[in-house]
Amino acid sequence: MVENIANVLRGLGAWTINALWKLGFASRFLMAIVLQSGQLFLRPQLLIREIFFSGVLSLIIIIVSGIFVGMVLALQGYNTLVRFGSADALGTLVALSLLRELGPVLAALLFASRSGSAMTAEIGLMKATEQLDAMAVMGVNPIARVIAPRFWAGVLSLPVLTALFNVMGIIGGYYVGVVMIGLDEGSYWAQMQNAVDIYDDVANGLIKSVFFGIAVTLIAVFEGYDSEATAAGVSSATTRTVVTSALVILAMDFVLTAFMF
């Protein structure tokens, strides 16, 4: 009995120490990435390549899900707004909820599961097959050559994808609200333009997505770099990337919203 309780306490302590250890290592890792980023100016091709893999290849999923999210928002919003006789405010509802919350958060979640997991698996496998060690032996810093380009590619891509997600959502909402339901086109855009502020809504949403980009890519490259050098280690690191990213995105979203709006 006493032994069991002691074991639970021991496990809790080990978990806490491990979590703090990881947090410290991740912070030092972020510093190392920033310090080793200078090489990217000399070899921008590395960054371009990573933007292609994490950004360009995510375009399809972002466009399709953006349109559907906008369509669902318009459909649900219409059903509620029409009860209060203010269906004309549909454009405002769709635009504000996308720009402020849904756009940054959903784009970041999609990005974490589409690109973040790929980054973790790639880096983890490079580690498992000792490619990272081989680079270090050849005198190439793996952080500068492998990690930093992926990190900056993610940080730069996510705001672009978020802006695109917002646009697609608003167009999807327009399709359902104006084309399918038959609301007035003028009031859809005019009410939206009245209510949306360029700094408060558009810019703050994109600032959010920059923070999400930093968090998601840092988690992805860190979990890859920190993964156990086995097949099972890489798979559990990939899982951890998606789970941790999702939790961090939602928690950060709350904090950022509290600060901004």
């Binding site: 091709q45 672009v160 917002n166 646009v167």
Partner: protein, 156 residues
């Protein structure tokens, strides 16, 4: 350094990003008319502003001519001191009247300006003297109730 197909794709990606931001700021946030150039400040004191908020539009005959830039309580008179930033292209005479109106039954509140006949125009720092306060639904219902209560007495 050679040009690669990947560069084209990344170029398209960046262009899409820029177009999206342009769409969001021009079509969604309407940046073009929001920063409508030079404004001048005039003031109006209301007994009750209802639900008027900073940045609410100032309209004349339904056309937006400015925005509410600040609202504060005057500590001497205990009236709401509202600052209106009006575009310099619009001039109002000193006897123009302002009232707080509501767009639709549940819409946002805005300030309506009706031009007067006086030849002197309001300049920076001027003050509207003819003001009428917001219609507060509770007060309206209260008045209605008291008038209903009085009616039977009148009819006898």
């Amino acid at each position: 350094m050679k040009r690669l197909t990947i560069d084209l794709w990344v170029g398209i990606f960046v262009a899409i990003g820029l177009l999206s931001v342009a769409f969001l700021s021009l079509k969604v946030a309407n940046l073009t008319s929001a920063s409508g150039g030079e404004t001048y400040n005039v003031y109006a004191d209301f007994d009750n502003i209802g639900g008027l908020k900073v940045k609410a539009p100032v309209k004349s005959s339904g056309v937006v001519v400015g925005r509410v830039s600040s609202i504060e309580l005057n500590k001497q008179t205990y009236q709401a001191h509202v600052t209106l930033a009006i575009n310099t292209q619009y001039q109002f005479s000193s006897d123009a009247s302002v009232e707080i109106l509501t767009a639709g039954l549940l819409g946002e509140q805005y300030i309506g300006v009706t031009q007067g006949g006086d030849e002197t125009v309001l300049k920076e720092g001027g003050r509207f003297t003819l003001v009428s306060s917001a219609l507060v639904l509770e007060q309206l219902i209260g008045k209605f109730m008291t008038s209903m209560a009085e009616k039977p007495a009148d009819s006898k």
